[in-house]
């Protein structure tokens, strides 16, 4: 069964995303800061990582993503962002930002599941 790691410091986002993915039959592990996030990825080798862009500091998410890639952890990364539109920043998939997909907050079940299914197969629903 596909394992998804969610790393976000907002417990409400963490619980809501977990519930959505669990309902769709995915197995979910979570962490609420970059250090724990790094640990659960190293230990559990998830199939997809969902990562919030800002945790303790702006850019925490980016730094963690870069750290994974430097260590050749090539697991697909979906980045949660709530800032792209407010800051007028244009995120592009590319070398600068080593992530595979973006999901704009607030999350909706359809959108989140659709993005995850780009990387893993739909498990048999519970």
């Amino acid at each position: 069964m596909a394992l998804i790691a969610i790393i976000d410091d907002d417990p409400d986002i963490l619980d809501a995303s977990s519930l959505i993915l669990q309902t769709k039959g995915f197995e979910v592990i979570t962490a609420s800061n970059p250090d724990d996030g790094y640990k659960i990825v190293k230990e559990n080798k998830p199939d997809v990582i969902i990562l919030d862009v800002i945790m303790n500091e702006p850019d925490d998410g980016f730094f963690l993503a870069q750290k994974f890639r430097r260590e050749k952890i090539m697991t697909p990364i979906i980045m949660y962002t709530s800032i792209s539109k407010t800051l007028g920043m244009q995120f592009d998939k590319g070398e600068m930002v080593p992530v595979d997909e973006f999901v704009e907050k607030p999350i909706s079940p359809e959108q989140l599941v659709a993005k995850v299914l780009k990387f893993v197969k739909q498990p048999v629903e519970k």
Binding site: S17, L19, I20, T23, S108
Partner: protein, 500 residues
Amino acid sequence: MVSYSKAKILVIDDEDALRGAVKRILEREGFSVVTAENGARGISLGTTDEFDLALIDLKMPDYSGLDVLREIRKHKPNTVCFIATAYASYETAVEATKMGADGYILKPFTPEELLNHLNSGFKKRVLILEAEALKNEREARLLEIAFERTRLNTVIKSLADGVLVVNTDGEVVYYNNAALKYLNLQDIVIGRPILEELPREIQDLIFANFTSEITEKKSFSVEVEIKPKHELVVEATLSPVLRQSGKLSGVVIVIKNISEFKKVEHLKSQFVSMVAHELKAPVAATLGFINIILNKEMNLSREQEVDFLSRSRVRLGSLLNMVNDLLDISRIEMKTVMREIKKLDMNQIISDTLGMFTADIKKKDLTVIFEPKENMPEVRADHGEISRLVTNLVSNAIKYNKQSGRVEITCCQQKNYAVLEISDTGIGLRKEEQEKLWGEFYRAKNEFTKDITGTGLGMPIVKRIVDAYSGKIEVESKYTEGTRFKVYLPYNLTDDELNN
């Protein structure tokens, strides 16, 4: 024009008869005549009075005519002098002329000869005076221009803004030191080409001015970052200088240092994006919950729904708090707060504040120590603002305290200040956390704080209120042991000081 209707003449001769005859002849011709009977008298008159002409006898018992001539020329160089002598010798004539004699009259002379000499002498005198007047006038004008130029120069040199004038050949015509500084140039030399040393943006603007037909005087501005990271940002305003013919003769560039302004602008936009992000987080969480609740496929149980709804309510409540805090901040910052300055009883405010937190104090089993001091002078301030200040500090002392901890509050008078001290036995602040404490939305994040809610605006509000009353606030803290805040509020502020 200098015009003399009547020539004034000094006649110096020791021969009484001759003196009298000359005086009669000349007065008949309209001259004004003064006579001197010897050299000493002649020198005395000729060096003090202004005469057009002087007729000096060469041979006198006391002084030689040449001595008299020398003295008069020394003091009155514009008096036209004639030497009169009975025996002329070439040498004497030459010497007299060297000394500045304008003519030589041989005795005996006829009245016509005398008049001829003196009339031409008078014409010369008039010319001398006219030339003198012109010279004086010109010197005065030159002085005036020089003064004007110095003054203008001083004014431009002492301008805070940079000034650089460039002609159509791209050469420097004028500059001041501020221009040197704001363009970050080592040297500017008048008469040398400068365009290539100027920042690209200013060059472009100058070229645009040189190449386009300018029909009206219009200025253009451009912002240039001279040193990165807002260290030196200037605004260059370029105005064409037109000749009277309407042709362009050059441009004047005024360079203004706008670094501070840009820094503030940058801070402001940083603040706005920070606010936007902080506001969006609770909205995003709440909307996320609602999306799940409304999604039929999610099939939530009633308990899950209630859980998500009550969590949404908490997030929306904190959002509302944040918006209220932001409104407070902007009210204080805009200085449009209608402050109701009254004499405040600090003891009362502290007691009232503690009353509001009774439930929280009980829940955490905290010991609160506050003994009101007698005879506290009253602080003049706005009740709402000072209550807010005390509330924020007390609330933090409770929120970040440990179970069964202590909160100690004292308020006393120290010189011109009312000093409010609030200390707790809470989680404390690390050194780096203390430095960030006054920043908007800063919340210390560690294992103790993760379950404590807050807007990150409480301390910035406290700081702003303290500043508004020209007070000060100090913080002492030890991580894991506790924090002590000391607020100094000045007494005796005048109404003017309070309204600023």
